[in-house]
């Protein structure tokens, strides 16, 4: 079932663009142009609400208050105003995030996906990242069906990356988690450990990416 998204936006051109962007991204957008019309809608029927603050009829802030009173649906604010007070007020009223106009379609999609991700309760027992599964309970890593034989340092590095799957993790954070941060040589040996880890991952080595200027990332794969 496609994810339904409620868009409350009065501008015809912008609204049309957002609807197209959302449709292309596989969402099912429902576009309402008037704040008063939006009042009668049930926010719980949508996975995300994208709300313009400057609306004819009911002011966006009132709509936000109204939705928040009866639903926990994530609300993303579209704001043309570069006004901190407005943003702080919207966030204070329970908005989850905001996007300042002008924005690229990708930025809006990224924010919507972040809203959808929010109740992300990753398992504490095992995390699956693409073809790699990290089993915390049994302290083992399974890649492409086979259990890898890893040293404790390599396991700790991979666990740290898996816990933050998809996100870049700094070298400092990895050294802190898996090596002795007090030792000056630790930072250099990290690269050696990663290199060995990659060779053990074999065909899945590409999932362990080097991130320029930061460190490493465990991604879902190409």
């Amino acid at each position: 079932m496609p994810t339904r998204i409620l868009l409350v936006e009065d501008d015809a051109a912008l609204g049309q663009q957002v609807v197209e962007t959302l449709s292309r991204a596989g969402f099912e957008p429902h576009w309402v142009r008037d704040g008063d019309d939006a009042r009668s809608l049930q926010p719980d029927e949508y996975s995300v609400v994208v709300l313009d603050l400057m609306l004819p009829g009911t002011y966006g802030m009132d709509l936000l208050k109204r939705y928040r009173a009866k639903s926990e649906v994530p609300v993303l604010i579209l704001s043309a105003r570069d006004d901190t007070a407005d943003k702080i007020r919207a966030l204070g009223l329970g908005a989850d995030d905001y996007v300042t106009k002008p924005f690229f379609p990708e930025e809006l999609l990224a924010r919507i996906q972040a809203c959808l991700r929010r109740p992300n309760l990753s398992s504490t027992e095992r995390i699956v990242v693409g073809a790699i599964t990290v089993d915390f309970e049994h302290r083992e890593v399974i890649a492409s069906g086979g259990t890898l034989s890893l040293t404790p340092v390599e396991l700790e590095i991979l666990s740290t990356l898996a816990r933050r799957k998809g996100a870049a993790v700094t070298r400092d954070a990895l050294v802190e988690a898996a090596l002795d941060p007090a030792q000056e040589s630790s930072r250099r040996t990290l690269d050696v450990h990663i290199s060995r880890l990659r060779s053990k991952l074999g065909e899945n080595a590409a999932q362990l990416e080097t991130v320029w200027g930061i460190g490493y990332r465990l991604s879902e794969g190409p």
Binding site: F104, W212, G213, I214
Partner: protein, 463 residues
Amino acid sequence: MKLRARLALTLGIAAVSLLVIMGWAQSRWHSRMRVDALAEAAVHRMESGGRERCEANPEGWPTPRRDAESRRRAGPRNHRLPPHRLFAYDSSFQSRNPASPVFPTELAQQLGTGNDVAVSRSDDPRRAQVAVRMPWQEGPCAIVLMRAKGPPPWFSAAVLMPALLVALVVIMVALFAAGPLVRRVRQLTESVRRLGSDAEAPIEIDGNDEIAELGAAFEQSRRTIEAQLASLRDREAALRNYIANTTHDVMLPLSVLQGHLVSLQQRMEAGETLDANAIVPSIEESQYLGSLLHNLNAAARLEATEGLAHRNTVNLNTLVERVVERHRPVASRKQVALEMAVPERAVELEGDLTLLEQALGNLVQNAVRYNKAGGHIAVVLRGDSRSWSLDVIDDGPGIPEEDRDRVLKPSFRGTEARTRHPHGMGLGLHIVSDVARRHRLALALGETEGGGLTVTLRPGLDT
């Protein structure tokens, strides 16, 4: 009514009232004295031959002529006696003279209780009556009744004339004394009236009285209004300046954008096959326009206030994420890798969300804008809320060491910042520098290992 006339009238009325009250009090005192005088005069007259004449002719006594004569004669204490008439009665209050009135009961009662003199003071002073029991207490002339007649003395010209004279003098003095006062009030009125046409003329009233105080209060208000007006004019000028600068700054990238689009259209018309990358400069320029407007807005707000207008808890992790996602569309089209890393626990600081986001956005945007295809940018947040650092690292062209201090100088007033970096980089960095200063953050520009710019923000700037 004018001030001077009102003052004179008030003082005149007060003087007349005071004199009338004094006259009335005096007349009361006089009338009391008169009773004694009348009583003594009656005894004196009867003893000096009056008794004999009365007893000799009780039916006709007193003769009107003698009565008039007696009025002119001075009494024993040299009191001028008021006009009065005498009537004689025996000890049982009966008169032989048919012209005599019936003896007043009130006086009879007073004499009956043993008094030798009885006085009747009615509200009308003209009806004052005095009865005196003579020492001999027998015969038809044992009791003498005296009746005053004529107007009460306090209506006399003797009281009214001085009252009128004093009132007149008081009014004259008041009119004369009010002169300088009135002149000062008029002077103040003129000064205040002039305010309407020339707000810069000061209001000056000499002296240390209430009028001078009033003048000083007016002058104080005038200065306040003058200052407010000046501040309004300054703001208006700043706004005009802002609009002019904004227009100028926006026209440039807009022209570039139009140029890109027209060139694309012409190349397509000429039958040239364009790859998708050809449109990237237009996209970048349009994004730059948006961020330029945000920067101009931020600059205007920073110029309008000292310190921070808003102070809330800002989550730097989400801020970094939001800024990176905002610039990723342009970066990826330019084939510049834009990455970020934040610690697991949120780093928080107190500050202005919009300004911090704008500042970080400027750093990232500059890194994207001046980088080339295949370049890298990393935004890295480290540490915790107490001690953190935020690096924007790129492998672009960097900024020569000798220029680094200059581009951070926290001043974007005038056009200096814009002309120095025609494409707006200056304005962006100045905003970063100013926002950092206001959040007491240290801002450092350094060189990336292997070339490029690394900008670091961290708490702990000593002002």
